[in-house]
């Protein structure tokens, strides 16, 4: 299968492409070509330059050096060459309906009946990629859950839109999808490539990469460090190539003892002192809402006590976490200001000390913590949000899918940090779309339709048990 693909002219060819942001070499001389029928898995640590590579390919950024060409179509622009992108951060127009969003990327839809055509086309695309999706073409996007939006965006990426999609770039498309939906996407990618399309698939979930990629590229610090057919990699080999020495997936320790119950919610969610409680189930079934309610209920919009009772780690960075005008330093310390203030004034020496400490502890990739937070890659921004929460002494930490876009190596570090903090008596409530993370927990609540459908603990926490609890009532 490989030789057939290689024979055709590549859809896109990069030669020595580089992109510099000031001193940062986000992309440092990459040569790469993608042929029809290929599914390219792209992996690398946070800030390796994956998103930058994608933006150079699709024309969003022009390279500082080197060239980007589209030999197969001979077109001058990515759009003309049939290159489509699904971006790491959601990029639909929330005020428009699903069908209207298709119209944005499908300029050829014209005439009086364009609405009907758009509806039909998007419905078809959704049916094809995500059978049984349950998304109406006339629904305004802002009424959809984050997973549904991601699905719409992927469907628009694959939709015919007048011309044919030759290369679809998916930048961490599964980060907010649950396992079942992600599975649907993976099988669609396989079908698409088999039919002669090409895909660049970026993910930090190595399992997914192995499941779909025909070729895997590993990036590190703006360079390609490995580029081989998928079959030549093992999981460990991949992790080594990325430059992380991942500790063995830590086995859950034998049942620990916990303190008194410190959290109870109307849904029946409980957590004890020192416990790591997971929230699982299909995406969009009320886990995030339950956590937000819990957090907003426990804290006040009117008072900020010196010792906060609870802190929050956001997963949807842009919406819930990052303060975009500020430096890394100020973003990291914003939650602990009352504690480090004297007579209402911030103690700036203490602040710098704490920020430097956490930069080291959590490995934020930056030279200077006074750089703007937006100069960090997605995953590194996420680490800042972790630092913000862990730096406070709040006894309860609420985490809303906090590992979105965090690379494998960092994840392991963070898991360890969480366990250490839990051992010191902190309680964690952790919603995740990834079963692997849920398995790190002491106790797991599975959500379905906004209610708890199962409570698992200890050895019961297995992928099968969780999946069956997620679907149980659906089948009934």
């Amino acid at each position: 299968m490989h030789s057939a693909a290689a024979a055709a002219a590549p859809i896109v060819a990069l030669t020595d492409a580089a992109k510099h942001f000031g001193a940062v070499r986000a992309l440092d001389g990459v040569s790469l070509s993608i042929s029809p029928g290929e599914c390219l898995g792209l992996v690398g640590h946070n800030g390796a330059g994956k998103s930058t590579l994608v933006n150079v390919v699709n024309g969003g950024l022009s390279p500082s050096a080197g060239t980007v060409a589209f030999p197969a179509s001979g077109a001058g622009s990515a759009l003309g060459a049939g290159v489509r992108s699904v971006f790491q951060e959601l990029s639909l127009c929330p005020n428009l309906t699903v069908a209207e969003n298709l119209r944005i990327s499908h300029a050829a839809l014209k005439g009086l009946r364009w609405r009907g055509q758009a509806r039909e086309e998007i419905a078809q695309a959704l049916d094809q990629v995500f059978p049984g999706h349950g998304i109406a073409a006339d629904a305004p996007v802002d009424s959809l859950s984050i997973a549904q939006r991601q699905m719409v965006e992927i469907a628009i990426g694959f939709a015919p839109r007048g011309t044919e999609a030759r290369l679809v770039i998916l930048d961490e498309p599964t980060s907010s999808l649950d396992a079942g939906i992600a599975e649907q996407l993976l099988s669609h990618i396989k079908r698409f490539c088999a039919a002669g399309g090409a895909v660049i698939f970026i993910s930090h979930m190595l399992g997914e990469i192995f499941a779909v990629a025909t070729r895997i590229i590993v990036m590190k610090d703006g360079r390609v460090v490995a580029d081989e057919p998928a079959g030549r990699f093992t999981r460990q080999g991949l992790v080594d190539a990325m430059g992380h020495v991942a500790p063995d997936a830590a086995a859950v320790e034998a049942a620990r003892s916990f303190g008194e119950t410190v959290v109870t919610t109307p849904e029946g969610l409980t957590a004890r002192r020192g416990e790591i409680v997971g929230l699982s189930g299909l995406a969009g079934h009320g886990q995030a809402e339950a956590l937000a309610r819990l957090y907003l209920g426990a804290t006040s919009s009117w008072r900020a006590p010196k010792a906060a009772p609870m802190v929050f780690v956001a997963g949807d960075r842009g919406r819930d976490g990052v303060l975009p005008l500020w430096s890394i330093l100020r973003n990291a310390t914003v939650s602990i200001l009352p504690r480090i203030a004297r007579r209402g004034l911030v103690d700036r020496a203490e602040e710098s000390r704490i920020a430097a400490d956490w930069k080291a502890r959590i490995g934020i990739r930056t030279e200077d913590v006074t750089n703007p937070i937006l100069s960090l890659s997605g995953g590194n921004q996420q680490k800042v949000l972790f630092a913000r929460a862990l730096a406070s002494d709040a006894p309860v930490v609420v985490m809303d899918d906090p590992m979105r876009g965090v690379d494998v190596g960092t994840k392991q570090d963070v898991y360890a940090m969480i366990r250490a903090e839990a051992a010191r008596g902190r309680t964690f409530l952790w919603y995740s779309t990834e079963t692997e993370e849920v398995c790190q927990c002491d106790r797991v609540f599975v959500f379905r339709d906004g209610q708890i459908s199962a409570e698992l603990s200890g050895a019961d926490i297995t992928e099968e048990r969780i999946l069956s609890a997620s679907f149980e009532m659906a089948e009934a």
């Binding site: 622009s77 971006f87 929330p94 005020n95 428009l96 209207e100 119209r103 944005i104 300029a107 907003l296």
Partner: protein, 309 residues
């Protein structure tokens, strides 16, 4: 309740209906062809100005110069368009293009629209003073005839409002290009990524605002028969209030042309309703504020907002 969330237009319609019923109850004389026309004819230029403001709010900007612009247009219409129609037309066209250029500049240099339009309000005002240092001019006859025409059964004001609402609905909600324009307000980046020249879209939105501003100025002169440099200054705030009353939002490209027209009618009617109440002069001004608050509070009663921060 979800009914109101789903059909945002219901609420503006309902507030207008209630206010209208109250007005008719207070002043039965208003319930006639003649009465309805008197109640609403001055709402026609306001409705057009509100649509103009909506075009700007649609792309996430706000226009603080609209009132001054409509005043300038009124001065041009009452002088040049009346005396030398061709020159007048050229000037009006130039004004529309100036608005479009403004949109392009704001986008290209990434300027805050609120400041640029604040500055432009001085410029428009100064130009208007040049044209009409003191009130005067007169409406072209055809315009006066058009604005005072008496169609059978339904008064001009109602016909005009329905036409404005219908046409702008087609233009901004139903049409493909209108959808893309709203997309610019929703997420300009994704529109740009889809290959649209956002700068031209912004220019188009501003150009539309300029066009409707010009129409507002013309309608106004047709009704008042003459102009002065300060004639429409209050349209700036009135148009913003109209867009919001009509269910629009300041950011995110959420606007409704039909709602905007209804908002303009509601604002006009609210003032009439108050004058039928015959309050003491001390409180007449305050009552206008109170009724604005009241009508908007209805939004709270019906549309439940996310409890989240």
């Amino acid at each position: 309740m979800t009914l109101f969330a789903r059909y945002r237009i219901l609420l503006p319609v309902l507030s207008l209906a209630i206010l209208l019923a109250a007005t008719f109850y207070m002043q039965p004389r208003a319930m006639s062809y003649f009465g309805v026309n008197l109640l609403f004819n001055l709402a026609v230029p306001i409705a057009l100005a509100t649509i103009a403001q909506m075009c700007i709010i649609m792309v996430n900007d706000i226009d603080l110069s609209l009132g001054a612009f409509v005043s300038l247009v009124a001065c041009v219409v009452a002088t040049f368009l009346n005396d030398t129609p061709l020159l007048g037309l050229v000037i009006l066209l130039a004004l529309v293009l100036a608005y479009a250029a403004l949109g392009a500049v704001i986008h290209a240099l990434d300027l805050p629209a609120i400041v640029v339009t604040l500055g432009m309000s001085f410029v428009w005002g100064g130009l208007a003073l040049f044209i009409l240092p003191s009130p005067g001019g007169s409406s072209p006859d055809w315009l006066r005839t058009l604005m005072t025409v008496k169609p059978p059964f339904v008064p001009m004001a109602v016909v005009a409002s329905v036409l404005i609402a219908g046409i702008t609905h087609l233009l901004f909600i139903r049409s493909g290009l209108g959808t893309v324009l709203r997309g610019v307000g929703g997420n300009a980046r994704s529109v740009a990524r889809a290959g649209w020249p956002v700068i031209r879209l912004k220019a188009l939105a501003y150009g539309c605002a300029g066009l409707f501003g010009v129409l507002a100025g013309m309608a106004l002169v047709g009704l008042t028969t003459s102009a002065d440099a300060n004639i429409a200054l209050r349209y700036t705030l009135l148009s913003i209030a109209g867009v919001i009353l009509g269910g629009g939002e300041f950011t995110g490209g959420k606007v409704s042309p039909v709602g905007a027209v209804i908002g303009a009618l509601t604002l006009t009617l609210a003032a009439s309703f108050l004058s039928f109440l015959r309050l003491s002069p001390d409180w007449q001004i305050g009552a206008q504020g109170a009724i604005l608050i009241l009508v908007l509070t209805a939004r709270l009663l019906f549309t439940r907002r996310d409890a989240q921060a």
